[in-house]
């Protein structure tokens, strides 16, 4: 089937299989490999991308359901002016190790900063509980996000 959507600000028209997952579409057809595959059951968050500004697990989201919508991946976020703040906070706090969860984590953080719901440590923990990180123990990420959200850790 034919799919038209916006990816990182550009119009994309592509043939897709009806059952094709957004994750496979982004990685295999568009070469946007920043979104990763891990749990396949919407539990880990490494495949997170934004669809119309909201985080979705692209491993459990049909490409076809993104028709006519705006998809933002880490490659697109990294081009935006606000990314510099995210990059600087995550680098300063060493809020990454292996980096596999990092793109999904950053996209979730970017979306939640946009909605303004990260008003306390508890909100941050709750908001990011769907993004697993096995390396960092979350502490560095918490510090970085507190900085970004203006919350005292």
């Amino acid at each position: 089937m034919r799919l038209e959507l916006w990816v990182n600000g550009s119009a994309v028209v592509s043939e897709v299989e009806p059952q094709e997952l957004l994750l496979d579409f982004l990685r295999d057809r568009l070469g946007l490999t920043g979104a990763k595959r891990s749990c396949d059951v919407q539990a880990c968050g490494v495949c997170t991308v934004l669809v119309d500004g909201r985080p979705v697990s692209s491993c459990c989201f049909l490409a076809a359901d993104a028709a006519g919508r705006e998809v933002l991946t880490i490659e697109g976020l990294a081009e935006r002016p606000e990314f510099e703040r995210l990059e600087s906070a995550f680098t300063h706090h060493a809020a990454l190790q292996c980096g596999f969860c990092t793109p999904g984590m950053l996209l979730t953080v970017a979306a939640l900063l946009e909605t303004g719901e990260l008003t306390s440590v508890e909100e941050i923990k709750r908001g990011l509980a769907g993004n697993l990180c096995r390396c960092t123990g979350y502490r560095g990420i918490l510090e970085a996000v507190c900085d970004l959200a203006g919350v005292t850790p």
Binding site: E17, D24, L32, T33, G34, A35, K36, R37, S38, C39, D40, V41, A43, C44, V46, T73, I74, E75, A78, L86, E87, F90, T91, H92, A94, L96, Q97, C98, G99, F100, C101, T102, P103, L106, I124, K125, R126, L128, A129, G130, N131, L132, C133, R134, C135, T136, G137, Y138, R139, G140, I141, L142
Partner: protein, 749 residues
């Protein structure tokens, strides 16, 4: 040897929290992992796995699958008749694909290579395998029963990296035994004033590196190339060379960034089947495990343990006896090493009059078990420390005091002929205790616990590094350590920058490609900073001394390096190369090891909800006794990562097998810690006594916190009145224990 205080401290020099060198690539989604690599003409491989834990294969029909458009080939054992198709670094017991019989549910039986993943997946359904089910050895108890079916008949053959001396003949399903025996154990127990004993259970655990095992294999003109998510590329290279009967130099392993490892990607895993499939397909093939497949590729050993510990009235620990059995699953994987390391950890770092340890590694019809961060120590430390605390209660001693009285001190022998203690454990545990408010009042339902242990670390000390300085004065470090998230490239850049008096940004550290990077034994056992880091330091020192010689001055600074090249080579070219090597001093045998003792010291404060049995970890403290912190921020981050994994091991994580079948095979029902499990207070205390064998007195870290926190949570829960004998401490288990205590009128304490 130059000392840190003698040299100018640059932006990225040793002791500074230099920013990670890989931050920008990883944050921007540009970092390549094995699954992001596309090789021209690459096919996609999928593995047919056994649904049965133990069965005879009566037939395999691949004809339907082979006829499917897009399917290039199907691999079965019949394709490996020209090889000795068994692998395994410790024991060569594991077929590339099952031969006539399957020994665990999930064992590879065949593999498909197809033009795309969907076709490969569809082809799996068309491969018809018929089985005749056999009796299942599902547990350690079943494996040790006198009439138990034998999982691997043997004779067991040592693998290339067995490294544990002569392989004894298998006794039934026991594939390896490790024993320690010191002093007159019976006499010691006969004279003890207090003895505690118990039986304990530790679960199988999934490492959950978020990137699953992923390999791209290419076989061309007698050369085998692998792009692999592996921690030990040089050991994989040797094992693949032996298996496919080619010279070591004809195997090339390229390791991109690893999406976590924690031991799950140590040694060889999916590489043999990927190479076999690529060999048959005559095209490159990628195999990427799903989580359910990685869970049965390797895991942490479940364990049963019987332990007793003796104390006298004066508060002296006298003796300890430990019998433990490790469930290594259907194939040995790293079971023998795990068992030996656990044996070393079992007595704990106390001054014993006698101890006896008998640790056995046992085959069962479950998924093979191997390395996971702090193996051995995590298995045993919580048990030993629970007994120390129970004895302290018997004798009316404070848990901190009993440790002060009995812990070994620096220089004391821990194991006959082995490395003496190289850390101040009493100082370490005092700091951990202080951080969680030891000795201050506790609210009801709250417990505080301490834990002290040691982990034999460093593996085998063989590493090399090369530093190349170009005519512009910038340097490149070639070293075989894999960047698994620990920050090795950042730390190596700092070490080289220090020695070369360069700003760290003028040093580049490349990833591992065995064709170009020199040998590094492995990335694990907390060895990289200590062993490979020392090789990097030595290589950089060599370049520096060449520069000093050319300049004729020991004070030469980096801004004059380019003119030194002109002076030496007669043009703005040439290259200075330094080589650093670390090799065992002495015979290098394991008996003389370890390279260093990794400190596993921690403390925790927990609360217990009496009505639900839920344990909440409020505070943790870990001690990174690292000798010298090359990058303090990265040290803290290592400890924090280990802390959360320790919470997972203590509270949540358990692979549940029933009759050999894994019941919780997704991340929905296998629970790992999330953001919401972050303790309110998490203290990482860095101790720098410059007592390590690595560069600047450094020694490794990152594993100790996992063992320490698992044990500290267990001792804290016991302190709150609920002594447990089985991990994880799920609400159900804790609640049931509280009901038992109530019946015995032992709750509340």
């Amino acid at each position: 040897m130059s000392r840190i205080e003698d040299v100018q401290v640059g932006a990225g020099a040793v002791g500074q929290s230099a920013p990670r060198r890989d931050a920008a690539e990883k944050l921007r989604g540009k970092a390549q992992f094995a699954g992001d690599i596309v090789v021209p003409r690459m096919l996609h491989g999928k593995v047919v796995r056994s649904p049965h834990p133990h069965a005879r294969i009566t037939s395999i029909d691949t004809s339907d699958a082979e006829k499917m458009p897009g399917v290039v080939c199907v691999l079965t054992a019949a394709d490996l008749a020209d090889l000795d198709p068994y692998w395994g670094h410790a024991i060569r017991d594991r077929p590339v694909v099952a031969i006539d019989r399957v020994r665990f549910a999930g064992e590879p039986v065949a593999a498909v290579a197809a033009e795309d993943e969907a076709t490969a997946a569809a082809a799996l359904e068309r491969i018809v395998v018929e089985y005749e089910e056999l009796d299942v050895v599902g547990t350690i108890e079943q494996a040790l029963a006198p009439d138990a079916p034998i999982v691997n008949e043997g004779p067991l053959r040592p693998g290339l990296f067995h490294g544990l001396g002569e392989l004894a003949p298998a006794e039934g399903n026991v594939c390896y035994r490790y024993r320690l025996d010191r002093g007159e154990i019976e006499a010691v127990f006969a004279h003890a004033d207090f003895v505690v004993e118990g039986e304990y259970t530790f679960p199988a655990v999934y490492q959950y590196a978020m990137e699953t095992h992923t390999v791209v294999a290419q076989v061309e003109e007698g050369e085998i190339t692998l792009w692999a998510s592996c921690q030990h590329p040089f050991l994989v290279r040797a094992e693949i060379a032996a298996l496919f009967e080619v010279p070591i130099s004809n195997v090339r392993i390229v390791v991109p960034y690893l999406g976590g490892g924690f031991g799950s990607k140590s040694y060889t895993k999916m590489e043999p089947i990927a190479v076999a499939l690529a060999r048959k397909a005559r095209r490159p093939v990628r195999i990427q495990n799903r989580v359910v497949e990685s869970m049965v590729t390797t895991r942490r050993h479940g364990m049963r343990c019987r332990m007793r510990t003796a104390l006298n009235r004066e508060g002296r620990l006298l003796g300890r006896e430990v019998d433990c059995w490790f469930d290594t699953g259907a194939y040995a994987d790293n079971g023998p090493r795990v068992t030996a390391t656990a044996g070393d950890a079992a007595p704990g770092p106390y001054r014993w009059a006698a101890y006896r340890v008998d640790a056995a590694c046992v085959y069962t019809n479950t998924a093979p078990a191997g390395s996971y961060r702090a193996f051995g120590a995590t298995h045993l430390q919580w048990i030993g420390e629970l007994q120390v605390d129970e004895l302290a209660r018997c004798a009316g001693l404070d848990p901190l005091d009993i440790r002060r009285m009995n812990l070994c001190t620096p220089g004391e022998e821990l194991r006959a002929g082995g490395k003496p203690l190289d850390a101040d454990l009493i100082g370490d545990v005092e700091r951990a205790a202080e951080a969680v408010g030891w000795g201050t009042d506790k609210p009801p339902g709250t417990g505080r616990g301490l834990s002290v242990g040691l982990l034999a670390a460093g593996a085998h000390p063989v590493s090399s590094a090369i530093v190349r300085m170009e005519a512009d004065g910038n340097a490149v470090v070639l070293v075989g350590t894999t960047e698994v998230g620990q920050g090795a490239r950042t730390v190596f850049a700092q070490i080289a920058a220090e020695e070369l008096r360069l700003p760290a940004e003028r040093v580049t550290v490349r990833g591992t490609d065995t064709r170009f990077t020199p040998y590094d034994r492995s990335t694990g056992a907390s060895r990289s900073t200590t062993v490979a880091g020392l090789a990097v330091k030595r290589a950089a020192e060599q370049v520096r001394s060449q520069l000093v010689e050319i300049a004729g001055s020991a004070d030469v600074e980096s801004d004059s390096y380019p003119e030194l090249f002109v002076r030496h080579f007669g043009l703005a070219g040439g290259e200075l190369i330094g080589r650093g090597e670390v090799a065992p001093e002495g015979s290098g045998s394991y008996a003389e090891g370890p390279v260093f003792w990794e400190v596993c010291v921690g403390a925790a404060e927990v609360t217990i909800d009496e009505d639900t049995g839920r344990v909440r970890v409020v505070k943790t403290a870990t001690v990174a006794d690292v000798g010298r912190a090359i990058n303090p921020q990265l040290v803290e981050r290592q400890d924090e990562g280990g802390t959360l994994q320790g919470l997972g091991n203590a509270l949540y994580e358990e692979m549940v097998f029933e009759d050999g079948l894994l019941l919780n095979e997704t991340l929905l029902d296998y629970r790992v810690p999330t953001f919401e499990d972050l303790p309110e207070e998490m203290h990482c205390i860095i101790v720098e006594n410059e007592d390590g064998p690595g560069p600047y007195g450094a020694k490794g870290c990152g594993e100790g916190s996992l063992a320490a926190v698992t044990a500290a949570v267990a001792t804290a829960v016991a302190d709150a009145g609920v002594p447990m004998t089985e991990l994880p401490l799920t609400p159900e288990r804790v609640w049931r224990r509280i009901q038992e205590l109530k019946e015995d009128e032992a709750w509340p304490r």
